[in-house]
Subunit: 396 residues, 2 copies
């Protein structure tokens, strides 16, 4: 008789966004004429950069036999992409990361979810509250518990390491869902703590391309000593509109180690490489050629322009909610606006859905400390954002 992994029964059977989709569908069914504007799930709406499109057409032609045919690629990603990542995302910004410390994948969600396979069963995990559910669920699915680092107005939504006794801490800045950013000093405190404790920081930098304020770190590796205590996840989903194209990467420094039960050092890059070569077969060649094109001068300018567009959306939403008397975080250096709704998250979500036909995300869906907030996403057309603001203004 085959027995199942019973830890799966410990997680909620419905994923947050599935519950939102269910409520939106029900509302639409009851009101077929309603023109619903979606500022909920963080999916992009603008077309891909022309440089990316051109590169992907060329890659499709390669697979038609018009160029070199590319079959199985390296599980860690093609050198043509890894070298550009190392140069543009790190070395050009004065950060010492090389191409062989980059492992390309089909997205940051997969990497954030799979990384915990490298750890012993009984390691202590800490995550923010509110939090991106993937960090929690993937640990619960293996039977691990976790502790929470409260992110609230009192700490500016950036908790410090004081009193944290975790072996692994997940940090995400610019933050999903709060939109908060961390200063270099705040991240340095975490790095110093991790090196002292021989703990590991899993740094999710999926939203770094939205940072415009000088001095705000784009990478954990801007901190002194981070290469001995941190892994970083990057995504092209929001950076370049790749939510449907699927590409991201993980940075695992060569010198990063954890420990066997006997205290001997174990290299984490070797472990992650083994994980990926055994269970993964590389991101699509066409996708990787598209990602490469982000690093051309045209690609850089075009993707920056699209992010500027979303940031202007974010500014409009942030200012509108502020004028309505709400306290807001994020919306600067981030596509997310985190609104203190002075009441119940799901009630507020339902009010905006039913009265304004606007979809947001209830903060309570991201954890206990998210109760009393909603997250508004800036990913939509200017026209829809302006109309959503107008409708929200009328019902609040």
């Amino acid at each position: 008789m085959l027995h199942v992994n019973e830890n799966y029964s410990k997680i909620k059977p419905t994923y947050l966004f599935a519950e939102i989709a269910h409520r939106v569908s029900a509302h639409q069914a009851a009101n077929p004429e309603a023109k619903i504007i979606r500022l909920g799930i963080g999916d992009v709406t603008e077309p891909l950069a022309p440089a990316v499109i051109e590169a992907m057409h060329k890659a499709v032609d390669d697979e038609a036999g018009k160029g070199a045919f590319y079959g199985y690629g390296p599980e860690q990603g093609y050198a043509f992409l890894r070298e550009k990542i190392a140069k543009v995302d790190f070395q050009d910004r004065g950060i010492d990361i090389s191409a062989d410390e980059i492992l390309v994948s089909d997205g940051a969600k997969c990497d954030c979810g799979n990384i915990q396979e490298l750890f012993a069963q009984d390691v202590k995990i800490a995550v923010g509250d509110p939090v991106y559910p993937v960090y929690v669920d993937t640990n619960v699915m293996t039977g691990r518990g976790y502790s929470l680092l409260t992110c609230d107005a009192a700490n500016g939504f950036v908790p410090g390491p004081e009193g944290c006794d975790a072996d692994v801490v997940y940090l995400c800045y610019p933050n999903n869902p709060t939109g908060a950013v961390a200063t270099l000093e705040q991240l340095q405190a975490w790095v110093d703590w991790a090196n002292a404790k021989k703990s590991l920081i899993l740094f999710d930098a999926a939203y770094e391309a939205f940072i415009r304020t000088p001095g705000i770190p784009h990478s954990i590796f801007e901190c002194r000593g981070a290469k001995t205590c941190a892994i970083e996840f990057r995504s092209y989903s929001k950076t370049a509109g790749f939510t449907g194209i699927r590409c991201g990467y993980t940075v695992v420094p060569k010198e990063l180690v954890a420990y066997a039960a006997d205290g001997s050092e174990v290299n984490l890059k070797a472990m992650w490489t083994r994980r990926q070569t055994t269970k993964f077969n590389g991101a699509s060649y066409i996708t990787q050629r598209g990602a490469e094109a982000i690093y051309s001068p045209e690609g850089q300018a075009q993707t920056k322009a699209t992010i500027d567009f979303y940031l202007e959306n974010a500014r409009l939403v942030r200012e509108a909610l502020s004028k309505l008397g709400y306290t807001v975080t994020g919306g600067v250096d981030s596509p997310y606006i985190w609104v203190d709704v002075k009441g119940d998250s799901w009630d507020f979500f339902d009010k905006l859905l039913k009265e304004a036909n606007v979809v947001t995300t209830p903060g309570a869906g991201f954890g206990k400390a998210g109760e009393g907030y909603i997250r508004i996403s800036a990913f939509n057309s200017r026209e829809n954002v302006l109309e959503a603001i107008e409708r929200i203004g009328k019902v609040l």
Copy 2:
């Protein structure tokens, strides 16, 4: 102090194909003029079908804003693809599988590797010997042991269930690496065994498109009762040359259950859906449009023609080795030819590499029972296959 998952140290640090790549590189470096022909790793060489290329160009244009923009898709895959799979791969062949039992992914390797997450830690696993290493390594990485089902000349490389006490058995037909196929009666015996024992069959049908002999089953679901005891993996890698494009799917019947510790039934499709929605974000939209085109009349004819081409390569290799006095399996209904080399696998591999400049795969790399064999792959141009045959003939 962060402790690692020590099970990673129980698997060999070098993956089989990495060792082969190392030996080939060393030989090429020592003999820069040598024109090496690769019949080792099972990667395709022929261009993608024109119907697939056309569909992917159109999909790239969608992402440029010329059609509907596709961002995050369903983690289980788009309905446009799942419905065609259900119809063409199953219903048109009289097999009762519906679209909501299909979960599309970025490849069968990932699905074969990840499926074991659903099982309790102490389940008993059985795999063939020789075997595709992913089945073994992904279980060892979680701390599980496994038992071996010897596949040898005595049983025609198709072991039966007699005496097997596993909770989960991995079966792959047409087989990698031996090229052997299983009859409907042989698979039915496994299905009857699994239903009686409440065990699960993980059926890897990655090579089903190479079956030409009438009566040989393409799917485990051709067997009576398989929907209560089997999961099937399919791949577009060999079917349609998608090794660099990344797409496959897994069939989990709605009625398939396993058991909680208290003996209650747990639905496996719900568990796999939860796994995929939590740790995966869907295959590339462009890739899925390419896969959809395989199911058009043009796509079906074009992909069949490419497989016919590889099958003719396989026939040529099979007949040449037979004429040289070797006993061979496979090469019919399969792209792989399994040769009894009457000696050491790696010695024979080295002889063909060094004397004929032909790369094969040593059978010992697939397990103890593979010792004494090599696997030859039919994936190459006709010109290269003919030259490889000529060179092999000269050195043997």
